[in-house]
């Protein structure tokens, strides 16, 4: 049958996978390094990221300060690593939160359709139509600026995207015969949602989540720029870039180092996300 041609072509598209393997090692290695440093920051003998030595402000990289110092004379290396911790916490947790809520909404909408779908789509519409700025400002102004609140605000902002992804995927999977098969044996909706649909939803959601992490890390920077990010002196990459921006000509490293680290991380996340997406492409998993 000619469908086979399409299938073979699909296998072929995964062809250069061996080349991918080393291409993947680099981004994965980087991500692991960043996560490792973020977790172990307290124990690897870094100077206090908020210890200031104003006299030594904006010093270029040297033997004493491997990555130089920032606008308040703090060790950039330490701040970049502690910043990784903050940025990763926000970057990982915020979309996770969004995915938890949005995923549930999208799943119910895609599975039950009809009125539930209408309600869910309406809810998403409202969230989307509501200027995200107002929401972020509200959170930080009303509940105060803290790591938790910033994460919460960004998490809420990622609900619509998560809901869309999970709804679209649920719609696709809920029509599969195996869902029908589960219903013929009398499985409850809850069981079908959790045992049949959810496992299939996780890989695309995971791939999307990896991309969302990078978007959120950048978004936290924008909040920092508006003065609404993680409160000082806790470093975050976005906040460091925002701080360093004003000395772009006299001490470019204060902005460029966190920017480079952020770039490498976003790049890695997207590469890994692409890989995951390729691996879970339904066309290929159907083989």
């Amino acid at each position: 049958m000619s469908a086979s041609a399409a299938k073979v072509a699909a296998i072929a598209a995964t062809g250069p996978r061996r080349r991918w393997r080393w291409a993947l090692a680099l981004p994965l290695g980087w991500l692991l390094l960043v996560v490792f440093l973020a977790i172990t920051a307290d124990w690897i003998g870094l100077p206090d990221p908020s210890a200031q030595e104003l006299i030594l402000r904006r010093k270029p990289p040297s033997a004493e300060f491997l990555l130089g110092t920032d606008n308040l004379g703090r060790d950039m290396l330490s701040r970049v690593i502690y910043g990784a911790r903050t940025s990763l916490i926000v970057g990982i947790c915020a979309p996770f939160l969004g995915f938890l809520v949005g995923g549930a909404i999208g799943m119910s909408a895609g599975y039950f359709r009809g009125k539930v779908d209408l309600l869910a789509v309406g809810f998403i519409d409202i969230l989307l139509a509501f200027p995200s700025l107002v929401l972020a400002l509200t959170f930080t102004a009303y509940l105060g600026q803290s790591l938790f609140n910033v994460t919460l605000a960004l998490g809420i902002l990622s609900i619509p995207a998560a809901a869309r992804v999970s709804r679209a995927n649920t719609l696709a999977w809920a029509n599969r015969d195996f869902v029908l098969a589960a219903r013929t044996v009398g499985a409850s909706d809850w069981r079908i949602l959790t045992r049949e649909i959810l496992p299939n939803l996780l890989p695309p959601m995971f791939a999307f989540w990896l991309v969302a992490i990078s978007v959120i890390i950048v978004a936290e920077g924008a909040l920092s720029f508006l003065g609404l990010g993680i409160p000082a002196p806790q470093p975050s990459w976005g906040g460091m870039i925002a701080d360093g921006r004003e000395a772009l000509d006299v001490a470019p490293h204060t902005a460029l180092i966190p920017a480079a680290v952020m770039f490498a991380t976003v790049l890695s996340l997207n590469f890994v996300g692409d890989m995951v997406r390729n691996m879970v492409d339904p066309r290929r998993s159907a083989l």
């Binding site: 989307l128 200027p131 995200s132 700025l133 102004a141 950048v218 921006r245 770039f263 790049l267």
Partner: protein, 317 residues
């Protein structure tokens, strides 16, 4: 046209919820417009008095429905802070925001479409990989950084474009465009990445379709296959994202507006919130919500233009 009716109902419901939500949120924010007006020298007595004068001491819901009543008759009230009619304030800012949004999207599309087309010619090839890395690079670039880099590059170093400010179209089209290029570029250079990735992925899917094979079997050259056969059926996700972006950009380009000193809706909103200018915030949010719903309505219409199958289902009664 039950579809049209459905869209209208959707608009009304979204508007109601969004404005009520805004009202609640701005009300629970600490500090209020009375403090803003009277400044840091005010006495608590004065503040209480002004609150009463502005009607801020009445229950929130009563005020909300008052606002809703007059809003329905087209009167969004006057800003507490500046006394300017809210409708006027929004209409003054809107052309700037709209132009910024349109130009940014055009730039984004102008980069995204050719890059996506070129990279699907050889997926995994050199161009594909370079363009993907470039895309992620721009994705990782905060716009407050990109903006200032562009200013230093294009206006200070090369002296090509004005660094900041907005020139209305009435003062000359070229001047107007000049003043909008850098801000649009700042947004567009970040925006294109997502559009490119989405289009690329949809193009790859489309290119596996039999009708593409058939087009090639007709002897069409590659570029013709891509442009005439693959592009249109691959553009639906792109259009959806575009619609969502546009909605977000109406009020969400604050940082760019701030850096380039553009008098856009985003800054109006930001100022409104900082001033606790409830009336202004409320009107602006309602406006943005309408804009969002209307634009996405138009996007739905655009689907129908792009895809006759949708047209078929929807417009044949």
């Amino acid at each position: 046209m039950p579809w049209l009716v459905r869209q209208l109902v959707r608009l009304v419901v979204v508007l109601f919820c969004v404005t009520l939500l805004t009202y609640t949120i701005v009300n629970i924010l600490p500090g209020d417009v009375a403090i803003v007006i009277l400044g840091n020298l005010a006495t608590p007595q004065d503040i209480a008095g002004l609150r009463a004068d502005l009607g801020l001491d009445r229950p929130m819901l009563v005020r909300y429905f008052d606002w809703l009543g007059s809003a329905l008759s087209g009167d969004l009230g006057r800003s507490y802070r500046s006394g300017e009619p809210v409708v006027q304030a929004i209409l003054d800012r809107l052309p700037v925001s709209l132009q910024l949004m349109v130009m940014a999207q055009l730039i984004a599309l102008g980069i995204a479409i050719p890059v996506a087309l070129l990279s699907v010619r050889r997926p995994g090839g050199l161009f594909d990989r370079i363009s993907a890395s470039a895309a992620f690079g721009f994705l990782a670039m905060p716009n407050f950084m990109l903006g200032i880099v562009l200013i230093y590059l294009f206006s200070v170093t090369f002296d090509l474009l004005p660094a900041t400010g907005f020139t209305p179209m009435s003062e000359g089209l070229w001047d107007n465009l000049e003043s909008m290029i850098l801000p649009s570029l700042t947004l567009g250079l970040i925006e294109w990445t997502v559009l490119m990735r989405v289009l690329r992925s949809d193009l790859l899917t489309t290119l596996k379709e039999d009708f593409i094979l058939l087009a090639r079997a007709k002897g069409l050259p590659q570029w013709r296959v891509l442009l005439q056969h693959a592009l249109r059926p691959s553009s639906f996700t792109l259009i959806t994202i575009l619609g969502l972006n546009i909605g977000g950009l109406i009020g969400g380009a604050v940082i760019v507006e701030q850096i380039f000193a553009l008098p856009g809706v985003g800054r109006l909103l930001l100022g409104g919130i900082f001033n606790r200018d409830l009336i202004l915030v409320q009107g602006t949010v309602a406006f943005i919500a309408v804009g969002f719903v209307v634009i996405n309505f138009l996007v739905d219409m655009l689907y129908a233009v792009l895809d006759p199958r949708v047209r078929h289902v929807r417009f044949r009664s």
